[in-house]
Amino acid sequence: MEEFRSYGGRAENVVQRDGPFGRGLFPIDPSQPIDLMVPRSLLVPAENVELQNGAAVIKDDSAFPNGYADWFRRYQDSLSWGAEGELSVTRFETGLRNLPNNVGELLSQLNLYQPEHRLAGKTFQHSMLRRFLKSRCLSRRGKLVVMPMVELVNHSPKATNWEIRPDGSVGVSGHHDGEVLVKYSNADPLRRLLGFGFNVQEPLGFSLSLNIRHRGQLVEVKGGGGRHWFQPPVIEEDNKRLVIEQPLLGCQDHPRMPLTLFLSAFQSANRSDGQELFERIHQANTLALVELLRRLDAVPDEIASLLRLGCMNQLSSLSHHIGHRAELLSRLGDEITRVNSSIGPDEPWDNPPV
């Protein structure tokens, strides 16, 4: 920590230890605020991290302070990649790879798991490092960057986001009764699990990737999350098919918003069948998740158990949709502009008040 501070970082009143989410950061004195901050100059682009003799190191350290690369290597070895990072990501990815074929096929079909993309490194260990970094990085201006010390904080959907300051530094601060937690990003339960390797009851539910036929038209739903949710889904239509990108289907805190956003997109496209299609997408999601649970039922592995829980969490998150806000449809564009301008284009996506 002293060394980290000497490079310009801050790490005050925190200690790493095991908690309910594995290793995490806790306040030493909960009555005092914690202060974690990585200056912009110490953020390491993920593409500038490589494996050397099994250790995660900075490939080219010319842009960093003298000695920082050595500190980073020791940090990764003792607190991050080498502490339990490599072990847990390897166990998770190996588990996914060993799932029964019919489970893997369905995950792939729903665009939840594509082994050819996840395991594209020159060796399995290289792929594991990339997976690990993806789960630890912050996206800044289209680039993934590693945030030493700050990345040790675990995720909670109820926590606030990382603090991204005007000078480009990233941090977490304030009073914390128990473990220091942040919200990594907007995701739903299954994508949190597949992306980060742990289960959590996220309040949002986005659609899976699937194709359905609606009133004779082929509808391609591109699933996913990780976007700022307070926006209508993008829809594109040609004479053969309708493409809907990342529709939000459930929102625990604002259960009327998923259909409102969906209807808004359809209103803009001069289509009146939005509500029916919204329900059909829900139906297709439920049937896919039920099928996944059926295929996982007799599988005894730890990973199957994680996936079962992820599917149940997803079903629960998707159930949070009730009615819609008709009064908001006509002024949704203004509302979105207002909320988005208050977020700032460079901040991580957050749940704005609605």
Partner: protein
């Protein structure tokens, strides 16, 4: 179960009493013991005349055998034939054993699962299988799975009650002077027992089936400023608006249909129709609230059942998944029916 010769001799006796049982054989199939055509190229013909239907209040256990209590209104010898039928082909064949295994499995469920099931009106061990008179309770459960309403009575229909259930099969033919099942069958002869959904079929009968309908579970919910009591259950004419009752300051919704794979626009339409005169209710929104609560309850049951080993755990997990799948079959509504003034029950 006896030999083929015993079976045919037994059916000859049944025919002598006025019943029909042509081109069928009892054997093990995908659903346990069931009836199969002897020659699938020819039709089967099963018929129990009204005179041979046995009211369930005229049944009792004697020496662990299910018998007719008072056989004076039946043909001579029918009481003895019925006793042998129960011993060799029904209660004694695997009926009692299956009921016992299922009830013991349910009763042995972990307390959190039982509490959840009780809370949503699916299962209450204290009422259903208290274990005070095990044989009598088993008999009652068995009768519940085998009887049918006929002319305001609940009756057992020998031979026909050996048929297994399929949601896509035809119902019993009750148009004549008895109950019948007939026609060509490639494989096992199957019949649709009743209108139900997957989880209630499981709890009521002990087996999983991908039923095409989904009814609500039981619970209370706050809808805007109105307390709403949802009475779950099926077994009613599904394509009619559900019953509504105002009790004190609560609105009671009786057995709302939430999904139908063959008529997915009807469930919402029917609830909107049912709630038309209720100013405090936004029926469309309530429909979604009821769906949400059902999903939450079923997912919670699945969570509690995750680590439960054995047949009952697997059966219940499958039942919950079947129910979630069945409940998903709803989209849109029938505006044409909602604009009609008198209530009709056309399904699409």
């Amino acid at each position: 179960m006896g030999s083929a010769a015993d079976w045919h001799a037994f059916l000859d006796e049944f025919r002598a009493f006025g019943g029909r049982a042509e081109n069928v054989m009892q054997r093990k199939g995908a659903f346990g013991l069931g009836l199969f055509p002897i020659d699938p190229a020819k039709p089967v013909d099963l018929f129990v005349p009204d005179e041979l239907l046995v009211p369930i209040d005229n049944l009792e256990l004697q020496d662990e055998t299910l018998v007719i209590k008072d056989d004076s209104s039946f043909p001579d010898g029918y009481g003895d034939w019925f006793r042998r039928y129960q011993i060799n082909y029904s209660w004694g064949a695997e009926g009692r054993q299956n009921i016992l295994a299922f009830e013991e499995g349910l009763k042995g469920l972990p307390a959190p699962v039982q509490q959840l099931m009780k809370g949503v009106g699916l299962y209450n061990a204290d009422n259903r299988f208290p274990g005070e008179d095990v044989e009598k309770e088993l008999m009652q459960r068995f009768i519940q799975t085998r009887c049918i309403n006929r002319k305001d009575r609940r009756v057992i229909m020998p031979i026909i009650d050996l048929l297994n259930h399929a949601p896509a099969a035809k119902a019993y033919d009750m148009s004549g002077n008895g109950i019948g099942v007939a026609g060509l069958h490639d494989g096992e002869v199957l019949v649709k027992y009743s209108v139900s959904d997957p989880i209630r079929r499981l709890i009521g009968y002990g087996f999983n089936a991908p039923e095409t309908l989904g009814f609500s579970l039981s619970f209370r919910l706050q809808h805007r400023d109105q307390m709403v009591v949802v009475q779950g259950g099926g077994g009613r004419q599904p394509m009619k608006p559900c019953g509504i009752e105002i009790k004190d300051d609560r609105v009671v919704i009786k057995q709302p249909l939430l999904a139908s794979s063959t008529s997915p626009k009807m469930p919402r339409t029917l609830l909107i129709k049912a709630c038309r005169n209720l100013e405090s209710i936004d029926a469309s929104e309530l429909f979604e609230q009821i769906h949400q609560r059902n999903t939450q309850a079923l997912v919670q049951m699945l969570r509690e059942l995750q680590n439960l080993e054995g047949d009952i755990g697997h059966l219940l997990r499958t039942g919950c998944l079947d129910q979630l799948a069945a409940l998903s079959h709803h989209f849109g509504q029938r505006d044409d029916l909602l604009s009609e003034k008198p209530a009709t029950s056309t399904a699409t």
